[in-house]
């Protein structure tokens, strides 16, 4: 009985930690959906690029060895800017053609980004330079300081995004643009600027999620982001696409469900639990748990 409770609580903790990482990615994806109105299948590549950039900056390859936190910050900024570039080159030129060309283009972009990276670095698995740590345990449950740090970084990011959305001009203009781009434009909002900054935040959040994921689940390959994309989709749709807070909640649910499933049902199907949640949401509640209009 005690063992059961311990294991259960432990699983919940892992689920929460993974959920917090998912939520960083899910919020990033949902924010960009808010202003661009298409589901970006290339979003996973921002995770991958974040993880690899942090890797190179912090040890492997480039001859640099920045401390991981610094490398992470640089990676987030660089990938954020890269995201703006990607939208400029691939997506903006199609912005007046409706959502479908954008959706299909995002598949093409995903391929270009993923395989360009693969061509450059190969498929061998890589690992971030993180120290091995002993878990800190209370009553037999606990986690390593590293995982705790991942969780805290993710939570801090959520708070940051919350502040950004609620208290800054950018947040207000983002919401206005997200509600109705034409109207926002008429109201004098520089919607192009808003879109650009949203891409920055969205791609940056993706990069951060990628680094955090790589810390949690080393080692990783160039397919890491694409594989994790479905998990992020699940969280995003569960929360109702375009809704940042919904995405956070959705992410926690998905994270916990995946970990419970892996522990108690079958360890082989980790991702499939996310798929199943995703499909369940689409079937029964396509506008997400929060309901209401999208």
């Amino acid at each position: 009985m005690v063992a059961f409770v311990t294991q259960f609580v432990q699983t919940l903790i892992y689920g929460l930690i993974e959920g917090s990482v998912i939520s960083v990615g899910a919020v990033g994806l949902t924010l960009s959906y808010g202003v661009t109105r298409f589901i970006n299948f290339a979003y996973g590549e921002f995770l991958t690029y974040g993880a690899y950039l942090a890797l190179f900056l912090s040890g492997a390859g480039l001859g640099l060895s920045l401390p991981l936190p610094v490398a992470t910050i640089v990676a987030v900024l660089v990938v954020g800017a890269f995201g703006v570039g990607v939208s400029r080159v691939f997506f903006e030129p199609l912005s007046d053609r409706g959502p479908l060309p954008l959706l299909i283009t995002s598949i093409g972009v995903a391929f270009i980004l993923r395989y360009a990276l693969t061509a450059a670095v190969g498929v061998s698995a890589k690992q971030l330079p993180v120290p091995l740590m002993r878990p800190v345990e209370v009553f037999g449950v606990g986690t390593t300081p590293l995982r705790a740090a991942v969780f805290l970084v993710a939570i801090a990011t959520m708070l940051l995004i919350h502040v950004l959305l609620t208290y800054t001009m950018l947040g207000k203009t983002m919401r206005a643009t997200s509600g109705n781009r034409n109207l926002a434009e008429i109201a004098g909002i520089d919607t192009d600027g808003v879109v650009r900054r949203t891409w920055f935040i969205s791609a940056g959040a993706g990069a951060l999620a990628g680094v955090l994921y790589a810390v949690l689940f080393a080692p990783f390959r160039p397919t890491v982001g694409f594989e994790y994309l479905i998990v992020i989709f699940a969280a995003t749709l569960l929360g109702g696409i375009g809704r940042p807070y919904g995405a956070m909640i959705g992410a926690i649910i998905v994270g916990v469900a995946m970990n419970l499933g892996t522990t108690y049902l079958s360890a082989e199907y980790t991702m499939a639990y996310a798929f199943a949640i995703l499909v369940g949401v689409l079937l029964f509640k396509p506008d997400g748990i929060a309901g209401g209009e999208i």
Binding site: I39, G98, P101, I104, F111, I112, G122, S266, L282
Partner: protein, 355 residues
């Protein structure tokens, strides 16, 4: 050239049998593309899980025809029906098509009510689930080890090269028949029904059409064609392994369809041949490079070597570039020629728009 006389068939030159392989695979991919064309080109359904129907067909054909596990060392799977070849072939292929169609109907039933973007995500996710089931349910599929003794019908009776020619001809015949049937369908009132649903689901409903059923039927037909392609593939390659059925297959087919031309059956076949031709021919890039180095004068060879040197030197370099090109192709076609080579720009005007 005496390539087409029976004696010459017994041993093709290296490039000849390579070409035959490419053409056979291209024929199989043409079927996949024709199937997707029914979904997307004619009905506007964004199916990002096409590979699942292909896999379903391949595994069906394999399970019907592989020897029972007792006869295979290290087998984890629990049954193989061991249908005799070549008589079992039609049964195996029909079953592959049926299972592909059923899976498509099932996946469709869960998600055709969704808007086009959600449908894209749902099909992608469901294909992912199907893939992990194939990988993990080893009792059925032999897991990531795969079913590696799928019979090649008629192979025992002839030389390798003769068989390759015969199977190619068989694939072409199947392709022609399927293309003919599909063209008849898309040119009939049924095709008009599909297109109307593609153009405006609301209007189609207001005119009394059961659009859900139309979409399911479309899913079933396209899925059956993909399943048939899977069956042909299994008997051609002789083995079925999960790694053959990754999302990249789906998107290669998409690239072929977009390139060839949406809502054009000719375009679908053309696109598949072009894309598979490109994909397979790049396998020779390193050979060409080596023979260039050998045949060029020393100075030129050194210069070439120097030029290539900064490129990464690992096995996945060239294969990766192949996918970069496929990605670029998708991006460029959508931007600059959304109707592809054979499509009609007027027809693709409204695809995938919500009412």
């Amino acid at each position: 050239m005496g390539v087409f006389t029976p004696t010459a068939l017994l041993s093709l030159p290296g490039w000849g049998s390579f070409l035959l392989t490419v053409l056979t695979i291209a024929g199989i991919y043409s079927l996949l593309t024709l199937g997707l064309n029914i979904h997307y080109g004619y009905t506007g359904l964004i199916n990002f899980g096409h590979v699942a129907f292909f896999a379903a067909g391949a595994y069906t054909a394999a399970l019907l025809t592989v020897p029972p596990p007792a006869q295979v060392s290290g087998a984890e799977y629990v049954f193989g029906l061991n249908l005799p070849m070549p008589l079992g072939l039609p049964i195996s292929l029909v079953a592959a098509a049926v299972v592909g169609g059923l899976l498509a109907t099932l996946i469709g039933a869960t998600s055709v009510r969704l808007g086009s973007h959600y449908l894209a995500v749902a099909t992608f996710a469901l294909a992912g689930i199907f893939g992990s089931v194939l990988e993990n349910e080893a009792w059925l599929t032999n897991g990531s080890f795969g079913l590696n003794s799928v019979p090649k019908p008629g192979r025992a009776a002839m030389s390798a090269d003769t068989w390759a020619v015969a199977y190619f001809v068989f694939v072409v015949v199947v392709l022609v028949v399927v293309a003919f049937v599909l063209s008849r369908l898309t040119g009939s009132p049924f095709g008009r029904l599909l297109k109307g649903v593609r153009e405006s689901e609301d209007a189609a409903q207001m005119l009394g059409k059961n659009t859900i059923r139309v979409k399911l039927t479309s899913f079933a037909i396209g899925g059956a064609v993909a399943g048939l392609a899977g069956g042909l593939y299994a008997h051609y390659v002789g083995s079925v392994v999960v790694q053959q059925f990754v999302p990249a297959v789906t998107f290669t087919v998409w690239a072929a369809l977009l390139l060839g031309g949406v809502a054009s059956n000719t375009g679908a076949v053309f696109g598949a041949f072009l894309l598979v031709g490109f994909r397979e021919s790049t396998r020779f890039l390193t050979n060409i490079y080596d023979s260039l180095l050998a045949s060029l004068p020393t100075v030129a060879a050194d210069a070439l070597r120097l030029a290539v040197e900064p490129l990464p030197d690992h096995a996945s370099f060239v294969p990766s570039l192949r996918f970069v090109v496929i990605g670029l192709l998708i991006v460029l076609v959508i931007r600059y020629r959304p109707e592809g080579v054979f499509g009609d720009p007027n027809e693709i005007d409204a695809i995938g728009e919500e009412d």
